[in-house]
Amino acid sequence: MTLREMAAALELTIVSDTAALDQPLAGGYVSDLLSHVMGQAKAGQVWVTMQGHQNIVAVASLVGLGAVIVTSGVEPEEQTVNKAIEQEVALCMTKLPTYEVAGRLYQLDTAGK
């Protein structure tokens, strides 16, 4: 399953659509603390967070994350979206709470493995 298919299955709104979304779904990481993501998340993973400000883009880009999902109806700031497009970071948003996104993501990721 690709990240794009995952986004469709979770009915996410894609606000920065990049080629990264055509990568296969390869696990996720959940945290609202940037240094945890920086230290622990793995390249290609999907990052689930409630942070919507622009520094999430720098972190996602430096780690080489597959996509960022901003949850709970948090609207990513305009600069966040612009930066994500500019730096080719895939960014999605959803009204679903983090718990639900993480649970469904885990199911999709582990189904058939």
Partner: protein
């Protein structure tokens, strides 16, 4: 003795400029990747650069980062003229942070920056005082 050749990158780091925070680190990552450094090593260099960059921006009224990329290693030196770290041993502990609430709301202040640097670098040195601010030197072997 002449200095070994290498590519030198220098970045001023500005206090609370969150709109450009991480740009120095992104540039460094891009350069080392272009020079053929593998993805895993580039990640370690990125962690060192990013955490030091953000600490200077958040805790030290800005600072300066100098990076030297050599064939076998990357050296990073980050200096600031900020308030210094009164107890370095405490600051190096996972979870220790003095970040104020408005900074924590943005997702900083996990108290993981210095531990991340120490873990990612092959060599990590820190000196700090209220008079001279903070000086950090990191070396990552390729």
């Amino acid at each position: 003795m002449p200095e070994e050749p290498g590519l030198i990158l220098e970045f001023p780091l500005e206090h609370y400029r969150f709109e450009i925070a991480g740009e120095a680190s992104s540039k460094i990552k891009q350069v080392v990747r272009q020079l053929g450094v593998n993805a895993q090593t580039a990640r370690r260099i990125s962690v060192c650069a990013y955490e030091a960059e953000l600490n200077a921006i958040i805790h030290a009224y800005g600072g300066f980062m100098r990076v030297r990329v050599l064939p076998d290693r990357t050296e990073l030196e980050v200096t600031d003229a900020g308030p210094g770290i009164p107890d370095i041993e405490a600051a190096m502990r996972e979870g220790f942070s003095t970040a104020p609430d408005n900074i924590r709301e943005m997702g900083f202040g996990a108290g993981m920056g210095l531990p991340n640097m120490a873990r990612s670098a092959d060599e990590f040195e820190i000196r700090s005082s209220p008079e001279n601010g903070t000086w950090i030197r990191m070396l990552v072997r390729h």
